[in-house]
Symmetry: C2
Subunit: 626 residues, 2 copies
């Protein structure tokens, strides 16, 4: 977790950061009429944005939600490894892991060749055969993920935000040139339906598949008209099906099931295939009763049977494959000529089947991509043009998602295929785990990066953690897990071979340049009274064992003075450990390399120590001096 006591001794829960920022004392009972950011919808996309912006105490944020209170049941439940990695940065991964069901493998059931009316277990595949991540793949109800995010925004983050439930977005107008250019009309749900006009600098539309914000900005939701229907139920069952507590893909003569065990030891989510529906059917399939879904499930599971003791939630879930052409209010032919003010994310931009367990995950990643950018623009660090990178980066990801999901969905219902479903599953595992995202060169992904200098750290992908040894306390630490979702950049400065304090090392020269050159990002964007690491948290990793580093000989850049007591932060100095040499593990050039990692954890630049000015150039493309 984060460091604490640097503003003086804290006796109570140190996870609770000091309250900071605007309008804390008097949270108005109704949404304020002048805002920096208005978030519409409190699903995974909206709630993630809410939590991220809550880290920026100076940004005036409000979130409205049509529902009268928290989500209680249903919706998504698959949490991919990338999401757990992100939760780690938000500080609640351990809690989610303890509470969730953990998928370690998938079993594949098919018609028994000896008796095709019965199913048999044809294969078992490990869930992460390639060791893609040190984080687990989890199943837990969306409602609980939203709880954790809301708790973080409301209790732990400086801004102490809480949602406005029972407010509905109606429409909006963007009035160019005004300080608060987005005029949004809201309505109170129930109670006479009072309307309210909110003027905001930015509006984040996370209002789901039937998004009104999408309609208001005229974005096109493109894709196949054909819908595929599934009956989905959260049930407490007794059964003789031996894999009731394993993830199972079941293909039988009577149809197919995607079976997902759930948290707590007793609950299961069962998706029963109800087949492709034509758009002309007028959603007749939605009338399917729960008894029929249970009956079908029993037929598919023959010779096993389900004794359903309680139906906690069920739904008929019908979905096509669609992507929106753009994720903001700037028409495609005007990109680059004006800055966006309205954004959409999550199901508002991309809808697809539930089968690859992507729904809530990709939606959160959308918001994580945009959150820190809004934070930096609104605090005056970055020009508004930075916001155009959101559509540019995420629209492609959405397209990839739809393509993958279409492929996967059709495989699940086909009995014969050129590739077995279990082979496809293993071969493509990186995608559903959330780690295939790789951003292309742009102002945020430094095209002049020297990928050869750190072959094991792919540019544009999320930074994958490795163990290092912290000098200060001789603790082995996952370097990546020290990255908190606090809106700051990370700079991993991998030293050359010289030990700390050696005369004229590449590391010392680099640090000197960064400390002294006026164009250094540590000088150019630092504000009066701000800690040295307020925008960029620089850590040094020596090639020596952590025991062999003399902290007194490490450049001051890596020992920033912090807080009013002017305490020296000693936790940014690392070496290798007895077990792991990060330089070998990630093929890092022994001449020394700097890796810049974005606030949302993606690798943005890889530059040898010998070229300090390039790091300055890179940041100059994003930030501006006051």
């Amino acid at each position: 977790m984060q460091q604490f006591h640097h503003h003086g001794y804290v006796s109570t829960n140190p996870r609770v950061k000091p309250a900071a920022g605007v309008g804390l004392e008097e949270r108005p009972a109704d949404p304020p009429t002048e805002l920096d950011v208005l978030i519409v919808g409190s699903g995974p996309a909206g709630m993630l944005m809410f939590s991220q912006l809550a880290e920026f105490g100076d940004v005036r944020t409000a979130m409205i939600e049509r529902r009268e209170g928290r989500l209680v049941l249903g919706h998504a439940d698959g949490v991919q490894q990338r999401s757990v990695e992100m939760f780690q940065a938000f500080g609640f991964a351990d809690e989610v892991i303890a509470e969730a069901y953990r998928i370690t493998e998938t079993s594949f059931w098919k018609p028994d060749p000896a008796n095709p009316d019965h199913i048999y277990r044809a294969a078992r595949t490990p869930d992460d055969p390639l060791g893609i991540s040190e984080f687990p793949h989890l199943i837990i109800n969306q409602a609980r993920i939203l709880d954790y995010l809301r708790e973080r925004a409301g209790t732990y983050s400086p801004a102490r935000l809480s949602p406005y439930y029972g407010w509905e977005f109606l429409d909006l107008e963007v009035v160019d040139g005004e300080e608060y250019p987005v005029h949004a009309r809201l309505r109170r749900v129930g109670d006479g339906g009072e309307e309210r006009l909110v003027r905001t600098k930015y509006l984040f539309g996370a209002d789901g598949a039937h998004s009104r914000v999408r309609r208001a900005i005229g974005a096109q939701h493109l894709g196949k008209a054909q819908l595929h229907a599934w009956g989905v139920m959260d049930v407490l069952v007794n059964t003789d099906f031996p894999d009731i507590r394993n993830k199972a893909i079941i293909q039988s003569r009577h149809g197919s099931i995607l079976h997902i065990p759930r948290e707590g030891g007793y609950l299961a989510r069962i998706y029963v295939d109800l087949g492709a529906q034509s758009a002309e059917d007028d959603h007749a399939v939605r009338q399917t009763p729960i008894d029929e879904i249970i009956r079908r499930a029993n037929a598919i599971l023959t010779p096993y049977s389900l004794d359903v003791r309680e139906v906690a939630w069920w739904s008929v879930y019908e979905v096509g494959h669609r992507v929106t052409d753009r994720f903001d209010d700037v028409p495609t032919d005007e990109v680059g000529t004006r800055d966006p003010h309205v954004f959409i994310a999550g199901d508002a931009c991309h809808t697809h089947s539930a089968k690859a367990g992507q729904g809530m995950n990709v939606s959160m990643q959308d918001a994580f991509n945009l959150g820190w950018k809004l934070g930096h623009v609104l605090t005056g660090r970055a020009p508004a043009s930075l916001l155009a990178t959101y559509t540019a980066e995420r629209q492609q990801i959405a397209q990839d998602l739809i393509d993958f999901d279409s492929r996967w969905s059709s495989m699940m219902v086909k009995e014969e295929a050129e590739e077995s479903i279990e082979d496809f599953y293993v071969r493509t595992a990186e995608f559903p785990a959330g780690f295939m995202t790789q951003y292309r060169p742009s102002i945020l992904t430094w095209g002049d990066s020297d990928q050869e200098a750190a072959r094991g750290i792919p540019l544009g992908k999320r930074f994958k953690s490795v163990e290092v040894g912290r000098r200060s306390d001789a603790n082995p630490k996952q370097l990546g897990h020290l990255h908190e979702a606090d809106g700051r950049w990370r700079l991993y400065v991998f030293a050359d071979e010289a030990p700390a304090g050696a005369p004229d090392s590449a590391l010392a020269r680099w640090a000197m340049w960064m400390s002294e050159n006026p164009v250094s990002p540590f000088r150019a964007y630092r504000r009066q009274g701000e800690d040295l690491d307020a925008l960029i948290d620089a850590k040094v990793i020596y090639q020596q064992h952590h025991h062999d580093i003399d902290p007194n000989a490490v450049p001051e850049l890596f020992k920033p003075v912090t807080g009013g007591l002017e305490l020296v932060n000693l936790e940014k100095i690392f070496g290798i450990t007895d077990d792991v040499d990060i330089f070998a593990e990630r093929e890092i050039d022994r001449g020394g390399v700097v890796v810049a990692v974005r606030p949302d954890m993606y690798v943005a630049a890889i530059v040898p120590l010998s070229r300090p000015s390039e790091i300055a150039d890179f940041f100059a493309g994003i930030y501006r001096r006051d």
Copy 2:
């Protein structure tokens, strides 16, 4: 964490158990005048007892504390591995680990032979060189540990208890033969000092070194009169001392320091030796000012220096080595003739130096030993005679502690010794880690146990966890970590070589005996409407890989039906994993063995599968039929 949803779907935080038990709705503003247990003092011993009893919804518990509110600062901060293991059972180890400082090694500083006025680092030793535990050794303020325990008692446990602050214990009288034999006089602190008489079945005196409860029961606090004084300060410092964030034992020409880094990255606790004090000095040393302590610390650290930026807390801590002759109100010569009603624990029974970091740990273990016993006696399961085992078991531990600590304290201040301090430290590591406790044969430690049948599971010591594979969900699990502090026994039933379902296996015969024989503990002590595992949670571990177990062929004893929905619990069936064979790891007889583990995690009996009646005999020594 615990299982959930078995009483129907839970949408909110599943850590919060359903509220249950007596007097929940109307918590009186002042302590009730009739109680099952009155706890005096809310230090580590009192608070641990409070949390444990909160698991028993039917037991009427109250805790009083003289202070007006929660502890804020100071006191102990060393959390040994055994305590973290126990916190795991209480459900908050992960949180404490994330928040605390973790000790991985200790450095030893001595006068530099080349320049004896300066110190130099003479050695570094790993903190757990023998791999005693999978849990870390932590440093975190006592106040935070108390917060976690209180939160558990108040928010998560069925009884939903909260402390009565600002109430002081005055004295007590035990009136034999009454239903509420302990009459305790309390006084409100401040506000006119209103007195109140509370009648209680049991009283737990956890009121610290100057215990009034101890005095009231006439127990003798025996030990050396000589006191050793230390100046102790929690400080935020800048320094060039390279091991400021490492645990360090510093012996210099100018005195010695025990240096303990603290949670959060900046804080340190520094114990400065103020020397032995004679009792005649009338505690003159307590007048030592903080400036003098800082001055001495600087002298000891020469050539390094400390720049103290804030003193969060400081004290002169003077302590002797004392143990109380008995831990309850039964005079030594009447043991066995009457049952105890008043108990003392923690500092009330044993005081010693802070140097081995034992204070809060041993105190909590005292309470953990007694907590479940009180719970089982008060819910009518066990006869009151069970309570005599508390003094019998814990008095010896306290004596061992004092002996160890005397040895350790004198080594710390001696410059020359027959054994170097670092060698002694490593050689005796199991003791301060909290794992040397081994209870002797008694009704709770089955003397007829077959230690040879499980050589790696020492009888009378705490059960050390090993990885097993859970059949239901193919998850590797630490068997010991599934033990919650819920007051239940664990029975680990290690199967013979036959797979599940094989005819006439030793395991199947054992399970049949337990299911059918009226003297089986699963039948004899089970109450109407109670789940099969309400008192004893039995888990089976097969010798096969978890993949190769057919759950439908496992005896019903290991698939208990639970809750109103009568759901089958499938999470008690285990096999070995790809990586670990628990049978090999713990030298378990392949003919099959049963290991009984007490609610406070100690190994109580080891009996081959072939002798089911011995398990019945063992429990018959402790419990009674309704």
